[in-house]
Amino acid sequence: MPGADKETDLTERIEAFLADLKRGGSGTGPLRGSGEMARETTYLLRRITAQARWSSAGDLMEIIRNEGRRMTAAQPSETTVGNMVRRVLKIIREEYARSRGSSEETEQQESLHKLLTAGELSEETFREHFVHLKANVIEAINELLTELDGTTDNIAMQALEHIHSNEVIMTVGRSRTVEAFLKDAARKRKFHVIVAECAPFCQGHEMATGLSKVGIETTVIADAAIFAVMSRVNKVIIGTQTVLANGGLRAVNGTHSVALAARHHSTPLIICAPMFKLSPQVFTTCSLSLNDVNSCFPVLKILSKVNVHCPVFDYVPPELITLFISNIGGNAPSYIYRLMSELYHPEDHKL
């Protein structure tokens, strides 16, 4: 039966994706960038919308929510997966509201009038069936995919507004967004980049080789020298794994020290992060698995008698951050909560 084939095909794809997630996040730095992760998740969600059996928006949302829960459980440190699920849920809500004819504005506004009169209104059950809902949702998801494709370019286009000639810019570890940002600015301006190598995996080395290939003057320093050279740095531009709802960051290990050193020298700290990294989750860190620890510290024969800590992420509070550069422009950390309310519906914050 064709229907059953489609279903098994879909479940196979979902299982393959989950297995990939479980394998991918061992902490050796993401095997794939978060941009790719976001795109893969959105493709899968589009496929679920197209192929799964559902009759009303409520059913679809239930299906997506269940799959989303399984995906985030497979790899809790990869937050872009959960973010995309929430975006799609918000898309479904919007399309449903549009099909029903009620404007989204009145739905979302929390006015005093609404609070007082809301008691008798029926709950939104999303049970109505609309013929074109599926097509609309898929079209909206396609728009989301186009947005995802263009994020790095959108951020890189803003580079010339922020980097002037003869600057010394510091960056930490490896971020594809920051690499594209700096390469774009290097086409027109001459500046120096100092890359902190970010032990134990030293992803900074890859970043430095990438930048020096396009002719940017790059220097690699050890993590310990960050404060020592910070007095000569004009700007610190870094990427991040996740942007939290309060404007804080969940970034690679060592970023908090960089942020503190930048604040001490009053150096602006600029974060290049696309919007799909914005997450309503609470900050949690995770540690490296035992295999990775053994590969990072090979000569420590007394490891059995000693506690070794290898956290993967750092929390950076919003007071230390100067600016967020995302695909929709530059924003202060104090404005992030508002952007988040536009991207996700409050009921979806907990999947």
Partner: protein, 421 residues
């Protein structure tokens, strides 16, 4: 000059002329005083000045010591410093057997340049032992005085050691002391007597300034360690290790967190020694500092030198630890013997520093070395700093053998020491 002035302004009275003359003389005298008081800038921070480099090359040629050449692309901010490669030690350029340099000095130079002897206390003690050997093997040539000839004999050795690795502040102070002792030998003293006198002086210096000072500092520091403390240390400082081991012997209950950093990874040595004694330890890299600091109750740091404006010169990374500890309101205690106090002043880590072999930053993971051919890429540079300076507002207390002082009291101690001498 005076006559020209008189000729050119005949209508001015003699008082004016006298005033001009006096001012000219006073500027000349001030110039002399300036030259006397301010020390000449050391050579190893003037690598970008070709005149200085030529002068050094001539001096080394006279002393028959080979000149070490710089290696690799230097970051422009540090073009005034040397950058050597460990794979090309100076001893390879020496002729064998070397007639000018004593073999124990050659061995010491090699140990310095390969990093076998590292740490300011270890280097100073090794230097003093090598000098003792030199003095034992020394014979005064005829028609020469020991007090002057021995000092001249030591000069090429010091240049050689400087070429192998720039001298540390503690070594500089030790050398000053030895030179002073040698020049104070009265001329009627017999050679054997003079030599035994010098040897006992050196032994006493080591005993007083290093060994006993360490005991005194431990005594003060142990007062600051209470039961249940979680102490953070950075890298390997012989003094701080000593303090922790003694505190453990006096049955204080504490645990230690050792912070380490690439590329030297000296913390592993500290970890090994502490674990051998039975102290419970945790090991992290410096990037995990913000993660581990909420657990810490005190930070103990060692120092390479204490500068006269209160800045602490220590292994690179120390200032970062002090900064983050200050943010988390954790007290930072620096332990330093008084013989490491230095009259230099410095405000940043650029003007006077040491650049280590840049190849150390390369790392091979999973069979791939990212920066393998960094020399071929013209716009890529590797920077391996050795020291950095910590501002005094990050340091809460300095524990020395003279007691516990704030960072800003360093010039007071220096003045007291100078008066003693």
């Amino acid at each position: 000059g005076t006559s020209v002035v008189v000729y050119m302004v005949p209508q001015y009275s003699s008082i004016h002329i006298a005033a001009v003359v006096v001012s000219m003389f006073s500027t000349i005298i001030c110039g002399f005083l300036f030259l006397l008081v301010v020390k000449r800038l050391p050579e190893h921070v003037q690598v970008d000045d070709p005149a200085v480099v030529k002068r050094l090359a001539k001096k080394l040629e006279r002393q028959q010591i080979p000149l070490r050449s710089d290696y690799g692309y230097k970051v422009s901010l540090f073009s005034h410093l040397h950058q050597y490669s460990r794979k090309a030690p100076l001893t390879q350029l020496l002729s064998i057997p070397s007639t000018v340099i004593h073999p124990s000095i050659v061995r010491l130079g090699l140990q310095y340049s390969q990093g076998i002897v590292a740490g300011s206390n270890a280097r100073s003690v090794a230097l003093l032992h090598a000098f003792k050997q030199v003095i034992r093997d020394y014979t005064t040539p005829p028609n020469e005085e020991l007090s002057r000839d021995l000092v001249n004999k030591l000069k090429p050795y010091i240049s050689f050691l400087n070429q192998c690795r720039p001298l540390s502040a503690s070594m500089g102070n030790a050398i000053k002391y030895i030179k002073k002792e040698i020049s104070n030998i009265p001329s009627q003293c017999k050679e054997e007597e003079a030599k035994t006198k010098l040897l006992t002086c050196i032994d006493r210096y080591i005993e007083e300034k290093i060994v006993l000072a360490a005991k005194a500092i431990s005594k003060y520091a142990i007062e600051k360690i209470s039961d249940g403390d979680v102490i953070l240390v950075y890298g390997y400082s012989s003094l701080v290790n000593n303090i922790l081991c003694e505190a453990f012997e006096k049955s204080r209950k504490f645990r230690v967190i050792v912070v380490d950093s690439r590329p030297r990874l000296e913390g592993r040595e500290a970890l090994r020694r502490l674990v051998q004694r039975g102290i419970s330890c945790t090991y992290v890299l410096i990037s995990a500092l913000s993660y581990i600091l909420p657990e810490v109750s005190k930070v103990f740091l060692g120092a390479h030198a204490l500068l006269a404006n209160g800045y602490v010169m220590s292994r690179v990374g120390t200032s970062q630890i002090a900064l983050v500890a200050r943010t988390y309101n954790v007290p930072v205690l620096v332990c330093c013997e008084t013989y490491k106090f230095c009259e230099r002043v410095q405000t940043d880590s650029f003007v006077s520093n040491e650049l280590d072999d840049p190849d150390d930053l390369m790392v091979t993971r999973k069979g791939k070395t990212q920066l393998e051919n960094w020399q071929d890429v013209s716009s890529l540079g590797l920077l391996n700093l050795v020291y950095d300076v910590t501002p005094p507002d990050f340091v809460d207390l300095v524990i020395t053998d003279l007691g516990m002082i704030p960072c800003t009291s360093v010039p007071v101690v220096l003045r007291v020491k100078n008066l003693d001498q």
